[in-house]
């Protein structure tokens, strides 16, 4: 009896010890997973961020955003809200979506000005007589934009495209590139896609509110020379270094943009918006379909500093 009890006690001890090991192991793995996940979140540099509306103050509340949508004829049914701070497009907006008769609808409403920044409407509209064609599409698009907000006074001539879907549906896309004193603003644009009856199907307006000195202090030649001198000092992967070394064409474009920082993890993914000479080191490969690859070094057109870069993949 005593021997049996001793054996039972020994087995119980073993079981308890193994249980402790199992629980401790689980916690150790969970900790490892948590550490790894938090490292990943810290290292991934997203182009936008979802904010907590309970913490971030906005000028436009959720009910106010809904009123803006209702004002132009939509009736959001049980909508979902996400507050987004967009680093690439320099806006903070409510992204509001709901489903209506199995169709998804998305709206982007500026959380500070209340401006409609985006519409995604996958509804099926009843066919009407064709009102829109390539020639009158820009004018109709402009009227439609004015119905839902302000049309930028400085918007120039748009590009117009006729799109034919696989199912035969036709759309017209009208696109305006933002320019300030003829200098292109990278990621500044307005785009609207309308169906032949003139209904807005897709709309996005990320017109940048920028005040900038558009007179460069350094010339294009100076910018190219600076880029040539600074390129060897940048810690570049071999393939990109080679592209610069053997570049067939080197030229510079004057643009207004937020410099891109792909290789420096210690910097935010985008810098401050500035006037930039984008110095392009370009190579063209022949063949049936010639391919253009480049490395672009961003030189601040006022200070002459290397502030960012980009390259083809």
């Amino acid at each position: 009896m005593r021997i049996k009890r001793m054996k039972l006690g020994r087995y119980s001890l073993i079981v308890v010890a193994l249980l402790i090991v199992a629980v401790a192991g689980s916690y150790a793995i969970a900790d490892f997973q948590r550490d790894r996940e938090s490292d990943e979140v810290a290292s991934a540099r997203h182009t936008f961020e979802c904010l907590d509306p309970e913490i971030v103050d906005t000028e436009v509340s959720r009910p106010e955003a809904i009123k803006i949508i209702e004002k132009i004829g939509y009736k959001p049914n049980n909508p979902e809200f996400v507050l987004i701070r967009d680093y690439a497009l320099s806006k903070t907006y409510w992204e509001i979506d709901w489903v209506e008769a199995e169709n998804s609808l998305f709206f982007d409403i500026d959380a500070f000005t209340g401006e409609i920044l985006g519409i995604f409407d996958s509804s099926t509209y009843e066919s009407k007589p064709e009102e829109v064609g390539l020639e009158n599409a820009p004018e109709i698009a402009r009227e439609k934009i004015e119905e839902i907000g302000e049309f930028p006074a400085e918007a120039g001539e748009p590009s117009v495209e006729r799109l034919e879907e696989e199912d035969g549906e036709v759309f017209y896309r009208i696109f305006w590139e933002q320019k300030i004193e003829e200098i292109p603003v990278v990621r500044g644009f307005m785009s609207v896609t309308i169906d032949p009856a003139g209904n807005i199907r897709y709309f996005s307006k990320f017109w940048q509110n920028i005040t900038i000195d558009t007179k460069p202090k350094i010339t294009e030649e100076d910018a190219i020379e600076i880029a040539r001198q600074k390129a060897p000092l940048v810690d570049l992967p071999e393939l990109l270094r080679e592209r610069i070394d053997i570049a067939e064409n080197i030229y510079a474009n004057l643009v207004i943009k937020k410099p891109f920082h792909p290789l420096d993890e210690n910097q935010p993914i985008y810098g401050e918006c500035s006037l930039i000479w984008e110095v392009i080191f370009e190579n063209v490969e022949g063949g049936l379909e010639p391919t253009v690859s480049f490395v672009a070094l961003s030189i601040d057109a006022h200070s002459g500093e290397l502030v960012g870069m980009d390259y083809t993949m």
Binding site: Y11, I14, V15, L18, L19, V21, A22, V23, G25, S26, I29, A30, Q33, E37, E40, V41, S43, A44, R45, H46, T47, F48, C50, D86, A88, D97, S104, F106, G118, F120, S122, F175, F189, S191, Y202, F203, S204, F206, L236, P237, L239, F260, P262, L263, E265, I269, E285, G286, G287, L288, E289, T291, V292, S293, F294, A296, D310, Y311, T312, M313
Partner: protein, 223 residues
């Protein structure tokens, strides 16, 4: 006596094994819930210098990617160890094409992954077939009518959907588009067509400059 001894030893071994098995089972059950939170249901590659893009994708998908361990994936590793077992496959790196227009992806060791290298993508571990492949690389989505290119190779070998860039694309555009595409496809649980359309509203250059193309079925990344 001898038989009794054998019986005793056998019982002891049996009981010990049972206890050990129960403990292992317990350990697996306890850990299962934790590990499942980031199940590697997708495979993710960022080939230097495109690890930044891979990191944002990993952030959404919980994909199996670690720049320190999987740095510079070789051509053989991608073809043999990654493609045949991935449900959602993602690649960020250089792409190019031969003089006759056949496109390829450049692996970490400089090897070219040609359309004819794409293995069978059916019947992989617990998944029936690869659901979605996205090769974020120049010209990865450029099909030619006169030959098999990467889009056809992926679809013909079992991928239900494939996305790639028809033209050369600047990294800044690809990075921004990819970030938004996975946000809509994973966080907002949209199908790939919707996710692409929504991402294009914010990054129209992905169409006008890189010419992003989606092939195959309109799948959902969230099973």
């Amino acid at each position: 006596m001898c038989r009794k001894y054998h019986k005793f030893t056998a019982m002891k071994i049996f009981k010990s094994c049972a206890v050990a098995l129960m403990s292992i089972l317990l350990l697996v059950l306890l850990n299962g819930g934790i590990l499942n939170a980031s199940t590697p249901w997708s495979d993710c590659h960022g080939i230097d210098p495109f690890e930044e893009e891979a990191e944002i994708v990993e952030d959404y998908t919980g994909a199996y990617y670690n720049a320190f361990y999987l740095y510079n994936w070789s051509e053989n590793n991608i073809i043999q160890a990654s493609l045949p077992v991935a449900d959602i496959w993602y690649f960020s790196g250089h792409g190019g094409q031969t003089w006759y227009g056949k496109n390829y992806l450049v692996a970490g060791d400089g090897g070219h992954i040609m359309p004819e290298d794409i293995p069978d993508l059916h019947n992989q571990h617990e998944f029936a077939q690869m659901r979605f492949a996205y090769a974020s690389a120049c010209q990865s989505g450029d099909p030619d009518w006169w030959q098999n290119d990467l889009p056809e190779a992926f679809l013909d070998n079992g991928a239900r959907a494939y996305m790639g860039w028809a033209d050369t694309v600047a990294y800044g555009i690809a990075y921004d588009f990819t970030d938004r595409f996975y946000y809509y496809a994973i966080n907002a649980a949209q199908n790939v067509e919707q996710a692409k359309a929504n991402a294009l509203l914010k990054v129209p250059e992905a169409e006008s400059e890189g010419n992003i193309q989606l092939f195959g079925e309109n799948v959902n990344l969230i099973p």
